[in-house]
Subunit: 193 residues, 2 copies
DNA sequence: CGTCTATTTGAATGTACTCAAAAGCGGTGG
DNA sequence: CCACCGCTTTTGAGTACATTCAAATAGACG
């Protein structure tokens, strides 16, 4: 049950056996069925979540009722609502299971105590966030620099295995276009081959 | 010279006088004149940079030669090229002074030693990055959810003091639109009052 | 099987873009 | 100090890419 998360952490820090026990003791397993919500915008959500199995989407609903996917989370990724976690304010985003999901949750006050007891976890999350920062910066510049078709090509090249597990509607929403537009882009691309 | 950066750090961690000395000893002051580059895409850049005075823009040049501003940095903000800093690979972005600038730089190997000697700095940058994460997520969803006019309104409401220091061309580039479009949006808005 | 959702396709629309040119503004050097 | 040069901003005309709305088809799930 803890294999994947311990490997995830071992990428950046080494834990002693005692520290490993201490860490796993704060993890709360949780499962969600497809289409269940981990977070609904407006709720306070005080957990950081590691995805052990399955996939989720984090999305925002705009003033016109349109949904926009801000991020996906698959096995071996972390998710949640950072704003609500940090501020204690209502969450900005919805996080919904796209498949049946197994999660490991860390509650805020327990994570804060963990940071105090084992400062290596400050380091771990620092490094994790540095990598997230790079990805998000890239997402921002890609959204400004690339056409819809280029963004789609980039997506399927970078995440070929995930693409298969997502509907076109979800991918379109992540790319910032309508499902109709993505369908047309795919038709065009098929014609080119 | 170190007042602003020490206050910046004191937002999240407390340093002893010795730790403060240790920290300031790794800071390298650097000044740039308006239009000088801190980083050029393609260079390796191994510094994290605190802006003591002035402003900079981080931008990306796309395949058509168009520039897109990924972030601004003003007094009391941090900047650099996280990708190059972390990976040692050539920088993805250009960072250019928009005004005369005073910076405090921390070299990578010195920061790594600082993390080891004073783990509180792991914590400091973790918290800093959490806040950056929230901002960037918001930027991504705003870019997908809002019209150009709404993004402009949001920008001038959130950064009214910075707006005055930026040309419309820079703001347009940050908002992901052309200067012509921003000019038209402003004309429209003026008509509404 | 039947229902609900996703995908495709078409037609009309719209928002922002490109290209072009004029006007405005700021900085620099004579 | 003024004149000039270059860059920014404005404005117009035409265009392109993606959208909306609508409807048909395909596919998934109970």
């Amino acid at each position: 049950m803890y294999d994947l998360i311990l490997k995830n952490i071992a990428r950046f820090i080494q834990l002693t056996p005692e520290e490993t026990d201490r860490f796993t003791s704060v993890l709360k397993p949780r499962t969600l069925r497809k289409r269940q919500y981990l977070v609904q915008a407006g709720d306070v959500f005080r957990y950081e979540c590691f995805v052990n199995k399955g996939s989720l989407r984090t999305y925002h609903v705009d003033n016109n009722g349109q949904e926009h996917i801000v991020m996906f989370a698959f096995e071996d990724w972390w998710t949640g609502d950072m704003y609500s976690f940090l501020s204690g304010q209502p969450a900005l985003y919805n996080v919904e299971a796209l498949e049946d999901v197994e999660l490991l949750l860390i509650e805020k006050s327990q994570l804060e105590q963990l940071y105090i007891d084992i400062p290596k976890f400050d380091r771990f999350f620092r490094v994790l966030l540095q990598n997230a920062y790079i990805s998000m910066q890239r997402r921002i510049s890609d959204n400004m620099s690339l056409t819809a078709e280029e963004r789609y090509l980039d997506f399927i090249n970078r995440y070929p295995h995930f693409e298969q597990r997502l509907s076109q509607k979800q991918i379109a929403s992540y790319l910032g276009i309508t499902p109709e537009s993505l369908s047309r882009i795919r038709r065009q691309m098929a014609g080119k081959n």
